[in-house]
Symmetry: D2
Amino acid sequence: MTSLHIGLIGTGYMGKAHAIALHAAPRVFDLPATPVCELLAEVDETLAVRKASELGFARATGNWHELVADSRVDVVDICAPNFLHKEMALAAIAAGKHVYLEKPMALNDADAAEMVAAAERAGVKTLVGFNYVRNPATQLAREIIANGEIGEVIHFRGRHNEDYLADPAKPHDWHTFRETAGAGALGDLGSHILHMAEYLTGRTIKRVCGQLQTVITERSLANGSGMRPVENDDHAQALLHFDNGLIGSIETSRVASGRKMGLAYTVTGTKGAITFDQERMSELKLYQQEGPSGRRGFRTLLAGPDHPDYAAFCPAAGHGLGYNDQKIIEIRDLIEGLTGRRPLSPDFRQARRINTLIEAIERSHHDGNWVELADA
Amino acid sequence: MTSLHIGLIGTGYMGKAHAIALHAAPRVFDLPATPVCELLAEVDETLAVRKASELGFARATGNWHELVADSRVDVVDICAPNFLHKEMALAAIAAGKHVYLEKPMALNDADAAEMVAAAERAGVKTLVGFNYVRNPATQLAREIIANGEIGEVIHFRGRHNEDYLADPAKPHDWHTFRETAGAGALGDLGSHILHMAEYLTGRTIKRVCGQLQTVITERSLANGSGMRPVENDDHAQALLHFDNGLIGSIETSRVASGRKMGLAYTVTGTKGAITFDQERMSELKLYQQEGPSGRRGFRTLLAGPDHPDYAAFCPAAGHGLGYNDQKIIEIRDLIEGLTGRRPLSPDFRQARRINTLIEAIERSHHDGNWVELADA
Amino acid sequence: MTSLHIGLIGTGYMGKAHAIALHAAPRVFDLPATPVCELLAEVDETLAVRKASELGFARATGNWHELVADSRVDVVDICAPNFLHKEMALAAIAAGKHVYLEKPMALNDADAAEMVAAAERAGVKTLVGFNYVRNPATQLAREIIANGEIGEVIHFRGRHNEDYLADPAKPHDWHTFRETAGAGALGDLGSHILHMAEYLTGRTIKRVCGQLQTVITERSLANGSGMRPVENDDHAQALLHFDNGLIGSIETSRVASGRKMGLAYTVTGTKGAITFDQERMSELKLYQQEGPSGRRGFRTLLAGPDHPDYAAFCPAAGHGLGYNDQKIIEIRDLIEGLTGRRPLSPDFRQARRINTLIEAIERSHHDGNWVELADA
Amino acid sequence: MTSLHIGLIGTGYMGKAHAIALHAAPRVFDLPATPVCELLAEVDETLAVRKASELGFARATGNWHELVADSRVDVVDICAPNFLHKEMALAAIAAGKHVYLEKPMALNDADAAEMVAAAERAGVKTLVGFNYVRNPATQLAREIIANGEIGEVIHFRGRHNEDYLADPAKPHDWHTFRETAGAGALGDLGSHILHMAEYLTGRTIKRVCGQLQTVITERSLANGSGMRPVENDDHAQALLHFDNGLIGSIETSRVASGRKMGLAYTVTGTKGAITFDQERMSELKLYQQEGPSGRRGFRTLLAGPDHPDYAAFCPAAGHGLGYNDQKIIEIRDLIEGLTGRRPLSPDFRQARRINTLIEAIERSHHDGNWVELADA
């Protein structure tokens, strides 16, 4: 068995999730190569050393440039703040490393395009971490749709709402400035539901009509030096027109009181429908126009070993997977992708698509009309 | 106690619901006047006589013109097919009768405008039957919002989806032709959710951007004489912009497999949110940003005697009201409205609003852009 | 069409529900005879006259003995407090009237036995109002079980929990004294779930082992004259052994915080299961060991026109029935029973069974062991 | 930082779960010592070597006696079939090792007593793996109860139902024989809910009255050599009487069609109630008699960083933990227990309690009466 040596940049929320998954994945799955936690970069040496110990990395550095250049690192895993994604990815690509990058890929479509071009020119492999599509219940949804079990898809409705900025007293952080975040809720959460829309239906969005809004127009600065405007959207929504005439809509919010992990979708077909809420991430509800009408209803399928990737975690149905388990599956996809067992998806090219869609929605809002998307 | 003599036209789905409610309402509520089931009209004398017996009406006629002209009738209650609403209402108004009309008021905005003008000129009183806003759980939602219990409203999301035409083998009926139905799902079901949007938020929709679609483009004729195009929308959705900057969206469908009474809404405020699904019509979920964060969550309120109009049905909470109970409350509103105890709402002028909105959404779809609504 | 003249005694919670249903039932169903609201009795003339007007009765009396003796009354409908059931029923029977009686039939088994004997000797017809078994969703449950759709029944679990006495500051009322209530939660609510157990499974309970408890051992008197002991159970539970080896258990409480109408059951069979909660009275969940295992799950059936008695209320599924609708179905059963179209069930003999079971559970608790039930 | 070297016996369902957790725990939590996956034992050398590679263990053996005796092993982690628990644990104790044992501890109370005595005599530390009590939502439930947030506990209802043997065509396996399993559902699943009853309420069960049943009385042998009787219970239920007068009941089944991970409980107090279902393991529902009665209802608390142990997995609420995450928390408890930072709980003495309760319920069933439990 070969090894793949990982260099991780960033140890916040997602960095820790990656570290947990990197250690667990080889135990859960029978992988074609072993991920080795080689090198960890943080903002300074002291923090890096401490975090390397905590997260089980062999070596540490306070300078991410060193990590990117390190000869023992095969894959650069970028969990740093979004506004650093581009610079780090380009440096990693330049060093000939494969890149595993947290979403959203970039702050805007132009940056994303530049990153795609660089990666393809360099011939390195890439994966962007849209973890919710790894959830067995959602993989099952895609399988049900692809099998035609609900007929032909006629409508997609999705939302990804949370309430992490619902409190107007919460000060600014990186989410609320253009320079550090790009789009607001639309970029942070909307990216997931836009990706989901095409992932689940297998269709391509051709036209969008969007509406964005900043609800809490100014917030205090974290350092106490007064109020400053919020520079991006608190919530957004869009009508969608896919190829083949499929229609749908999405909604996203970071001020949706009560929603903690409110990614939810309903996909309606000519012969049935599925509905899902990530707050109950191991349940999928399925309706089919079958059997006597008095015995029809939405069926609650509990994720189990008959569904994609579940059995590796637990042989018994209904025992439940968690947030971090999605990342473990993503690591499996990364390792199998890098060793040629499966395509890496979404890679930079596919992930840029989300930036393209986000910008189209923003432009539609700005111009007050529908925006067509160029052929992919 | 005075009496109000009712002349009912039509004994289908809604006619029967009205008859049940007319008999039950005086037992449930302490009414200022007693509704008397005076005269019933159906398409022929035989059917009228039979239905009058079944539905407890004193007299019967096979000619609705007689009913409208009958000196003992105070209120004409129109439950006939939608395409007859205008003619019947105008005749009733001409005869100086008050009019109680099932929704949707008319097939289009121009007809609705004509009806408003006639009623106001004649000085007769009118009520249009949007029964879902009578549901105690929904009245409670409005009360919570109006009290500011969820802060200032920042988002409205609503849908009214059913699946009564999901089966492509189902032949044409009155729903599927322009001449008999006007708009499709948007008129039949969308009318409810559009009305709900303004009812709950207390705000006025100023701009819409709509998208309509006929999914099953042709159906067989009921008489077996071949296929014919479906003339109106199977599903529709729209972005909404209210006054004061509130945004939201609605969706409606008659081909949404699995949804039987899928009127649902989520209203988000700056301090909380409510969410509701008419398939669980006696439950309202309420989230408030209050108390320690580890003890926050959506609370399931079961309709009970502390909520509007429930106690008249049952003194104990959680026992559940049903579809017909909403109509009983509507009859109470009718009787109290006619005797001056409360405003009749929505009257023709208010109900025409829904036709205006429907046409704006249709025009927006047709023109491919946002449509502004004139000031009401 | 003939008429059946009803004399109603008592106009509290249940009296009003009966009155609503008596007026609505002939509009909902095509009845073989029309119930006529003939005479109403209350504790004094003034109240009786007022209530007769409110509830739509032709005549009124302040003396129930007059009602029982009235020549124009065919059926005596007893909604008076439980401790009066026996005296009133015996008087009605003595006068040769049919008796329609609210549950629980009597305060104890001996009284119930006396009432059965009297009714059978006199040859009058009887019906006891266990309204929850009329709910279409529960009728559907019975149908599914009887059809063998979940195989052979192997387990019954039921509860009927409410919280109307959860507040220890709530003073005594008739529920809390032996003389006026007999058993406590077990009599008031347990009676429903015990009846349900045999109704749904079609089996007979042969042995019980019970446990009762008074949680709040004393309460204030309503008149402010100090504290007095609570004389019956606040909650109770029992293991059940049915004929043919079926086992199960029930639980009941009037101090179960949060439960408003907490009648719920799960019936498990060799090939599936059903589960139900009266707080969502129009939903039945059904699981069947059928189809691929990855597509199995509990299906939420929304009550609809394919299910027993629903279509008479509404032609569209999922629109929801309410508490009072159950009483309307019960009136239909009463009228059809009195006219010979269907058996009256539960009649006094069947309803006495519940008193027998309650006493067996109380005796089991007292003696600390299992109690056998004599063959019915 | 010190290390604790683990010797794992058995690599089935639970062995793999332990391995995943042993690798992940040091990344999730800041542990006082690092668990090292030292040695793995399986039934033969080949399998052991393969499994050691898969599960990340340094060395392998086909003889568990070698593992127990290995000088580099500090803790023997027993995930072998239940009937081997006693022999292996006694051998490990004899070798002076700490023992981490999967539940149920032993096949019967006498064996469990022997194991307790041996461990205490040897002075080794022990932990038995009742993983469901580690779930943050359940830890939160205990915290809410202990804080008095629902008042004084007045009722406990619990069940642990699954359907893994619902299919009568499923052949015998180790679950269905006395010699390999001891009790049936009661031992395998009932052990969890009995443990939960005392864990959550903080009370001690003093008396039980049980009822057991083998529903499918015979099954085929896996090797095809005919039918043989099932030797233990398929489902069981018991009334419980705790100290201080608390009452309750439990139920367990392995033939409960539709239940996949059906551990559920409702704990009712004088001022509120909590209810939980492990199939939605990251949700706890809480009702409190607080605030205006029209705003009361069960609140759905989504597990989050304000609740015990959640924040180590994810900083954002509602993102969901999974089955294996419970084991990660258990490993933290093991390591902290072995290093003296917290008591190990349940240790052998506490875990034996469950065997005692199971036997009392079995005896109660056999004798047909209540059984008192001796003071612990």
